[in-house]
Amino acid sequence: MTAFWRVVLCLTALGVGLRAQGDAGREQVQQFTTRTEAVRVDVLVTHRGRLVRGLTVQDFELRDGGVVQRIDLVDEQAEPINLVCLIDTGDHSRANSQFKYLIDAGSALLDGLQPRDRIALVAFSNRIRILSTPTTDHASLKSTLRMLYPEGVSSLRDVVFAGLVLRQLDPGRTLLLVFSNGWSNFGYLRRPQLLDAARRTDVVVYAVTYQYRGVSPKDYGPFLDALAEETGGRVMIANEGRDLSGVFVNILAEFRSRYVLAYMPTGVAPGGWHRLDVTLKGRSGDVKARRGYFAE
């Protein structure tokens, strides 16, 4: 079943995400014309703040548009993941010492990757710099990280959109990790546009921020919360810069511990917005999953 779902889901991701592209020589030139209806839902289960492991498919119930679906549990934990990492280098108010912690956290994140994991690295201020499209060459990215420096202001919404689009370079499970203080007054895209784009992917967004000069990151507003909520991810807040490394590594571990449910939708409309509800059957726990998906 796992192998089956892996093939189906890859076809799905590519069918939805990548149309046939003709120009030879470009990586990820995928020539899939087959389009399946398989849906993958990344699920986090916690109980009293702790991860809940060891659940089976019988522990879950998934409704697509209110209709209970027959689901399978895909064993993805041994598979490589795709990480799209967005690093906010903007905001002048961040002290250089804090910025150092951010770079250290990025390095710790790279150390936490498995050899086959792929990572795309994007830095952003009032410009977006795609430092790397998805690669397994983690070592080279460490030196790239060291070359980052604080500059400008942040165009958070624009870069998140870029990250969502970059996700299409690989059909596998994708974690979009964005480090930012949550300010985004300088981007071109507006919040509704970005959230709409987020609803059209299966990317899971984890956002990281930290307290600075006594200001709670929550004060920066719920944009990141909304984004994480929409995609089934979370916002993590470090008490200070030096805690960032631990937060980054924990996110990676948490993402690997999530459950992946898959199903072929039945009894639902073929297109449009599909609301998803994932619950536990006969167990206590908090479930986080994307709120729905667009069938295009």
Binding site: Q21, D158, W183, Y188
Partner: protein, 365 residues
């Protein structure tokens, strides 16, 4: 710190280095000495004559100097000079307002500087408040500045409390400054400083822009903003017509921005191919700017053309150059360009504000 972005001339404050500042006719240290000697009028005159960058770099460096060790007398003199200097600019503006209405750049800059007096002071005040949180002098001085601002800009006092309401009722400000839900109270407070001259509704803004344009039809940037206001009122046809009228009169970043806005208006009409043409035109104008690329990518993405969106995004690295220049959309949306900030509503109310400002200064003297 984002305040520094609102006005390009203030960006240097963020990176001010050095202590001694030169100027064409007088430098900041000389002016400070004049002030200490009681030559107030001359000090204000020369201060107003300093280039903006030197004015603020000088103020910051002298303040820094005074802080190590803390010399209240120096600090007090600097702050007072700065305050009076700002007011001096406001007085100049009063005389220049007719010129400003004719749209000459110099007069417009004066108008901007005059109106920005409380804004200019704000960063300095914040720095000092941090340095001396319990110092009675700081509190007193801060209150003084706030009182000036209150009198000169009705409703500006306690701007932190007033700003949310202003932002909520003003969709363009939400666009430009971000929604309230994304803001810290510090940001809201900052907005409060920049908002007092803004009109409370899109309808009022439209009326203000039309009135300004009737008085001075060649205020092209104001016409651009009128088009934007129309767009935000979901009047894409009128917006497009306005953009058509103005786009041949704008160059540089404004020309780029008008193409972006034309694209948005076309999207609003449902004419996506025309929107793409506008974004593409913007992209050709400013190959190094990223907003047009993001706009093209987003347009493709929402149509389900994911591969095309990806192609656009992949071209972003080529748009990255050394340094991080402010892009046209950024300065337009954030009001970093002096003219946009000036035009938006403040143009309509300048004479009233500055007449009051002049009265305050006379009374103080």
């Amino acid at each position: 710190m984002r305040r520094c972005l609102l006005l390009p001339s203030l960006v240097v404050v963020c990176v001010a280095t050095g202590v001694h500042v030169s100027a064409q006719s007088a430098n900041y240290q000389d002016i400070l000495e004049m002030y200490r000697r009681g030559e107030f009028d001359a000090a204000v005159r020369d201060f107003a004559g300093l280039p903006a960058e030197e004015r603020y770099r000088g103020a910051r460096s002298v303040v820094r100097e005074s802080l190590r060790p803390f010399r209240r007398d120096v600090l007090q003199a600097v702050l007072a000079l700065h305050t009076e200097g700002g007011l001096g600019r406001g007085l100049t503006l009063c005389d220049a307002t007719p010129e400003a209405r004719r749209g000459t750049p110099d007069a417009r800059e004066q108008a901007l500087l005059g109106s920005g007096f409380p804004f200019f002071e704000y960063g300095l005040v914040e720095t000092l408040k941090t340095q001396f949180p319990d110092d009675e002098f700081m509190r007193t001085w801060y209150v003084t500045v706030m009182a000036y601002a209150d009198a000169a800009f009705p409703g500006n006092y306690r701007c932190y409390e007033n700003a949310p309401a202003r932002i909520r009722v003003h969709p363009e400000m939400q666009l430009a400054l971000g929604g309230m839900h994304e803001k810290t109270w510090q940001q809201v407070e900052a907005d409060g400083w920049t908002l007092p001259g803004f009109t409370p509704s899109l309808q009022d803004a439209e009326r203000a822009f039309r009135a300004a344009l009737q008085a001075a039809p060649d205020l092209h940037e104001a016409r651009l903003r009128l088009g934007h206001v129309l767009l935000l009122q979901a009047k894409p046809d009128e917006a497009l017509e306005t953009f058509r009228e103005v786009r041949d009169h704008l160059d540089g970043g404004f020309a780029y921005v008008v193409r972006l806005l034309e694209g948005q208006a076309s999207e609003q009409r449902g004419d996506l191919s025309r929107a793409a043409e506008s974004y593409q035109a913007a992209r050709v104008m400013r190959p190094q700017a990223q907003s047009a690329i993001v706009a093209l990518a987003q347009l493709a993405y929402t149509q389900g053309h994911r591969a095309e969106a990806l192609e656009h995004i992949r071209q972003l690295p080529g748009a990255a150059t050394a340094g991080a220049p402010l892009q046209p959309w950024v300065w337009y949306a954030e009001g970093a360009d002096p003219w946009s900030w000036y035009y938006f509503g403040t143009a309509w109310r300048f004479p009233t504000y500055l007449a009051r400002l002049r009265a305050i200064v006379k009374e103080k003297r």
